[in-house]
Amino acid sequence: MPHTHPTHHYQLPHFEGDILQITDLHFSYPDGHAALHGIQLCLAQGEKVALVGPNGAGKSTLMLHLNGILGDSGAVTVAGLPLNPKTLPQIRAAVGLVFQNPDDQLFSPTVFEDVAFGPLHMGLPEAEIHIRVDAALESVRMSAYRERLSHHLSVGEKKRIAIATVLAMNPRLLVLDEPSAGLDPRARRTLIHLLRDLPITMLVSTHDLALAKELFPRMIIMDEGRIVADGPTLELLQDQGLLEAHGLEKP
């Protein structure tokens, strides 16, 4: 098949300013459960932000809005583009979403196919796809795993490949849902180094406040579908009352 789609079609136009803007985002699940109540949020380019909060706070729900898997209320703007069905492909290329469970993210038989899935569906030419895949695997230091079968990998390895699958799409904004869950201390350490070295804007949900403290200068606390605090991580972690009120614990 001749894939002749030009790459630039999927590249966002150059853009200065906040990479992500959310204004008054509401969302209810089809069963009527209201999961988000008026979320207000801005992310500047290059920021690395932690998103914390108890189980059921709405963190995953919010993240699924960032590239239009849920919702279409027009409350989300990515790199200046308001999210709507027409901009969707561009926005999905700009926002890389990594789910909590790598077994839900890695759905192809081999590592290569999985990492190539995004670029392939963006319609990139074959040569470009190979370049992208190699670069993505290189940056998570998994180049040697190119031809491996996904089900032969350990949890930590799967996690890294899952990150590579979205890096291959050259996202402007990386969104990770609980990347450290289930990792042993050594694998967690490797992940921290990896995230620290990636030069991309990041929004990361986590229950691991020690990780948040170490990696993210800014922290957002959610509870019951609302943002209840947004500020410098170190400051928020000092506020014992705030943490306790939202089921969190000082690391």
Partner: protein, 263 residues
Amino acid sequence: MHADAFDRYYHAESPLHRLDPRVKVFLTVAFILSNALLSDGVWAAFGLAWLLILFANRFSGLGVEFSFKRSFIALPFALAAVSAIFIPAGQPLAEWTIGPIQLVPTDFGLMRFASILLRSWLSVQAGILLVAVTQFPDMIHAFEHLRVPAILTTIIAFLYRYLFVLTDEVMRLLRARESRSAALPGLKSGGSLFWRARVAGNMAGQLFLRSYERSDRIYNAMLARGYQGQMRTLRSHTMTRRDWLILSLGLFALIFLQLLARL
């Protein structure tokens, strides 16, 4: 936990491993077809077919007896063909009376039975060798190249990937049940058969819902990476001259075998 027990691929550096998967799949199917075309009792042709298998084994780097050693999995099914021995045709060989039943094995029946088994046994060996020298994802690519509908091959690719995830899940469920299957001295344990079947049913229902809901999450993950309803694949294999050569050699051998069988 690992369900790697399902992996039938054996790695080795061999000409057969390097062969284009299309050629391997095509020749395997042709070989099985050729077996089906052999009439009963052409022992020489069956022997030659086995020789071909041995030859292929030899070039797989896995040992000449590789497929032979694993080829008895279809044996239980042979029971289905046992009755062929007693077809009332040809010369009776003996007469056995077991209670009210009278069994008369005939030479025609025996030949028929042996031929069915041989055909099946040769075909199974070809299949075993195919999966031993071809990574399953490559095999799926071969089917794509051979124009099997993309939806079907993609479903099989998903099946392959999640086979391991879900069987692990089942194994863990079974362990949980096992670890609570206790007994106390002096009490009859185990519950009724109905109850046990219901527990198995609950486990199946549980697993079904979890799989169903997982497919939603995977769909989200696909959407997040630009999926818009159509699967695309990189056609990653190209046929070399060597591939074409081996393909023609293989087909030639099979045609020769068929001709020999008709002489």
